[in-house]
């Protein structure tokens, strides 16, 4: 009994969210079509999971939740912009965008790492503010310099005056490429359930790679630094370099994850898409039961599943219970930030108690 209670206490967040999801579905059962819901959830899982997984390595390295992932997302968007500008299309264009994003991710990830290594113990707030700062630069570059300074010429992605990127860009060349590659359907309660197998294979490869990496020498160093920087240091591990590695990996993966995300949606809100990904991906990871100091692949998968289920269900439940879908919409935002806040508070409370 004591063991069961402890298990429940440790997993209080995912349990709570399972209850919320199930009761939401029950409350909205009249207005919800389960096959449509299932399709939505599968799509959103394939869209978001890569991004959520990119947060794991910094947590293992003891750097907390990487709010700086937004920098990676921007690099992903740079990749998309460059490729769309060329007018390329097809699966090759999709991977080309990934290829273009990686050098940018490495450069900006390196700068992020330099900063975070000077802000040990305050990585999360530093990363968050860094993201705001980076957003300012991003806007300056793509609003003012795109066109006259940076040779972007494709009128489709530029504002009417030829200076600055359009507010939304249709990803005609790169959108949906990976999903389209292999997307069989299986019958589910009378309707077809489409499964983007190629995207899931891509994600599975990342999971295998993450797992494998954590079992290498370098991964062991990462875990050691994550537990105690001082002990790692005197054991001859280069702490700064290890932390830099963690941020580089996370930034690169964040960039790739953003490309997968936007490609799945098919359009890019040039100046906003990257801003949402940080808090949403972090909230998804935390919903799965991860904490500031502990995160696994299973946390990411479970969390993304629950978070997006709630995202789908809450507007409908809001409509039925409170007569307004708006309240459900509001509830989404509220939930994302509340989860982050509560988990941070829980973590602080547990650390102080031990």
């Amino acid at each position: 009994m004591g063991k069961l209670r402890q298990l429940a206490l440790q997993n209080v967040v995912p349990i709570l969210f399972t209850v919320l999801c199930v009761s939401g579905i029950i409350a909205a059962r009249a207005d919800i079509s389960l096959p449509i819901l299932a399709n939505d959830i599968v799509t959103r899982l394939s869209r978001n999971l890569f991004l959520v997984l990119s947060l794991i390595i910094p947590v293992v390295a003891g750097m907390g939740l990487n709010f700086g992932i937004i920098v990676g997302a921007m690099c992903g968007q740079i990749g998309l912009i460059v490729v769309e500008n060329q007018g390329a299309s097809g699966l090759g264009a999709f991977f080309a965008a990934m290829g273009v994003s990686i050098p940018f991710s490495l450069i900006f990830g390196w700068l992020t790492g330099l900063l975070l290594n000077r802000a040990k113990g305050r990585e999360m707030i530093t990363g968050m503010i860094l993201a705001f700062f980076a957003n300012g630069i991003y806007q300056a570059v793509f609003l003012l310099m795109a066109g006259p300074v940076i040779p972007l010429h494709n009128q489709r992605i530029l504002l009417d005056g030829g200076i600055g990127l359009a507010i939304t860009i249709d990803l005609i060349g790169t959108g949906g490429q990976l999903d389209r590659l292999l997307r069989p359907s299986i019958p589910f309660m009378g309707l077809p359930l489409f499964i983007p197998v190629a995207t899931f294979i891509f994600i599975a490869l990342l999971c295998v790679a993450l797992r494998g990496y954590l079992r290498t020498k370098s991964g062991q160093e990462l875990r050691a630094v994550g537990q105690d920087m001082h002990v790692a240091e005197i054991s001859g591990i280069n702490v700064d370099r290890t932390r830099m590695r963690a941020i580089l990996i996370s930034t690169v993966l964040g960039g790739l994850g953003q490309i997968i995300w936007l490609s799945n949606i098919g359009t890019m809100n040039t100046f906003q898409s990257h801003e949402q990904v940080g808090p949403y991906a972090i909230a998804a990871l935390l919903v799965g039961g991860a904490t500031v100091a502990h995160a696994t692949i299973w946390h990411a998968i479970l969390g993304t599943l629950l978070f997006h289920t709630l995202f789908q269900v809450s507007p409908i439940a809001g409509q039925i219970l409170l007569g307004s879908a708006q309240i459900g919409e509001y509830f989404r935002e509220f939930v994302a930030y509340a989860v982050i806040g509560v988990t941070l508070a829980l973590h602080a409370w547990r650390t102080r108690r031990s």
């Binding site: 494998g212 290498t216 020498k217 537990q227 005197i234 001859g236």
Partner: protein, 532 residues
């Protein structure tokens, strides 16, 4: 003759212009257990940091002198350099990762690896991507544990292990290093039970018998006597003696550790009416102050005296005052002037005339961004309702004029060097901040005053001033003072009696002019050979 394992010669080191090591020489031979003893602040830690190439040394300008290992001069610029040279350390606070198993900890930073597909493809770049050879990690750890005679399971995680076992994991880690030739034991028995300590000492002897040189840092002189072959005594950054164990005695080492000329005592005489009346009676006091636990203190503080509390860092001397004032969880039976004293309630303690000047003046003692005058008056306003306007009630205004007048008096009396009573205390020097803390405590008109480390980080001139003020308020107002300090010399200068704390208990109470050797013995936890 075989060349010595370690020769340190002429080591000088200063931090920001303060010399902490002044020409230290130290020699350790293979198979020798050499003890290094000295008070806190004698320079032991700095010496060990040099030996390990810790970044703190190089970030503060490096050191002078030479380090020779096995007859060869070496440069130790990082902990990994030290590791390569075969220097290991068993730390006082365990350097183990709780989430790893014994084997992972033993092999930390030196994991054996196997090539895999990716590391092969990437060649030298992929060195970090080699897989861990878990089998070999286990086997090596098992061997190391066997060598020191421990039956511990190498696959057990560290979290939840008894501290005694953790110590052995640390030793196993050092032994496992193939080239281990010098292992430093930094107060290894401080956290161990007696039986565990005995086991540890036996293990140390067997390691020495295998030809490894051991440097043993300890405050427990009986253990030093038991297992060391030689001893070096450090005092104020200098080697005061290097002795062969056959010719040394506990008394001699204790005296060498403390040995300073007694400061002159020219204190004003007390007024008549001195009594032996007990002001504060403490029985079975236990305080959970991290790093300074108090484990059952019985103590009587006499009315009108200055009682000193001495002891080495971490033994619990700071915990006593912090516990009585309710700043940390506390248990015990305490009477103030014969009446029961409620523990754990700071406000109640202050209202009963007990004041406290904390050792942590920047965190606990001061509101750094507030003015000098508000810092001095603040506690009195809050606790006693002094300096309040006539209206009374919760909306009473602070009488600024009165606060200003009082602060100006105090600034003059304590010689606080400042631009005026409205200056924020953050911009004062350490010594002047300390004077503000004292002025605030005196504003409460306490009958019993606890003062902890009043001269820490305070320059020499201000130091005297602070001590003078304590003596003055003791003589003039008859305030009973309990003065806790790491500096025995200053306690001996102003106190009537000095209690020495060891392992959370009072080890003994001495007169300020008791011989050095008696203080040294009490500091080291010895009671035999001490007169009182």
């Amino acid at each position: 003759m075989e060349s010595p394992t370690l020769v340190l010669s002429g080591i000088h080191k200063s931090y920001y212009g303060n010399p902490v090591l002044r020409g230290v020489d130290l020699t350790v031979r293979p198979g020798e257990i050499h003890a290094l003893v000295g008070e806190n602040g004698a320079g032991k830690s700095t010496l060990m940091n040099i030996l390990f190439g810790m970044p703190v040394i190089h970030e503060t300008g490096g050191f002078e002198g030479t380090v020779e290992l096995g007859g060869r001069a070496v440069r130790l610029n990082s902990p990994s350099d030290a590791m390569v040279e075969g220097i290991g350390m068993v730390h006082q606070e365990f350097m183990l990762l709780p989430g790893f198993t014994v084997a992972e900890n033993v092999k930390l930073g030196r994991e054996p690896t196997r090539a895999n597909l990716f590391s092969r493809v990437l060649g030298p770049v992929g060195k970090g991507l080699r897989s861990l050879d878990r089998r070999k990690m286990q086997d090596d750890s098992r061997n190391a544990l066997d060598r020191i005679g421990m039956s511990l399971d190498e696959m057990q995680p560290i979290a939840g292990m008894p501290v005694g076992h953790m110590q052995f994991v640390e030793i196993a880690r050092e032994v496992d290093k193939e080239n281990a030739r010098l292992i430093v034991f930094d107060e290894p028995t401080a956290v161990l039970a007696e039986s565990e300590a005995a086991e540890l000492l036996a293990t140390m002897k067997s390691l020495a018998a295998q030809g490894i040189a051991l440097l043993f840092i300890s405050h427990r002189l009986d253990e030093v006597m038991e297992i060391a072959d030689g001893v070096t005594v450090l005092r104020d950054g200098e080697v005061v003696a290097t002795l062969d164990m056959q010719e040394a005695s506990v008394e001699q080492i204790a005296e060498l550790m403390i040995g300073r000329p007694l400061p002159e005592r020219e204190l004003p005489a007390r007024g008549a009416g001195e009594t032996q009346q007990v002001a504060l009676e403490v029985r079975g006091l236990e305080v959970d102050m991290p790093g300074e636990e108090v484990r059952g203190v019985d103590l009587d503080v006499y009315k009108g005296e200055i009682l000193g509390i001495a002891g080495l860092a971490g033994q619990g001397k700071l915990g006593i005052a912090n516990g009585l004032l309710g700043l940390h969880p506390v248990r015990g039976a305490v009477k103030l002037e014969g009446a029961p004293f409620v523990l754990g309630e700071t406000l109640a303690a202050l209202r009963q005339g007990v004041a406290f000047v904390s050792e942590d003046r920047r965190q606990v003692g001061l509101l750094l961004d507030e003015s000098i005058e508000l810092n001095i008056a603040g506690t009195a306003v809050h606790v006693l309702g002094r300096f309040l306007g006539k209206s009374g009630g919760p909306l009473a205004m602070i009488n600024r004029a009165e606060v200003r007048r009082h602060a100006e008096n105090m600034i003059q009396e304590f010689d606080i060097r400042c631009q005026g009573p409205t200056q924020p205390v953050r911009r004062l020097s350490g010594g002047n901040q300390q004077k503000v803390c004292l002025a605030r405590a005196f504003t409460l008109d306490p009958s019993l005053l606890f003062v902890s480390e009043p001269t820490r980080g305070v320059d020499v001139g201000a130091k005297d001033r602070v001590l003078q003020q304590l003596v003055r308020v003791n003589r003039e107002a008859g305030t009973t003072i309990v003065l806790t300090s790491s500096e025995l010399a200053e306690l001996r200068q102003v106190c009537d009696r000095i209690a020495v704390v060891f392992e959370g208990r009072i080890q003994g109470i001495l007169a300020p002019d008791a011989p050095d050797v008696e203080f040294g013995l009490l500091f080291a936890g010895e009671r035999s050979g001490v007169s009182s």
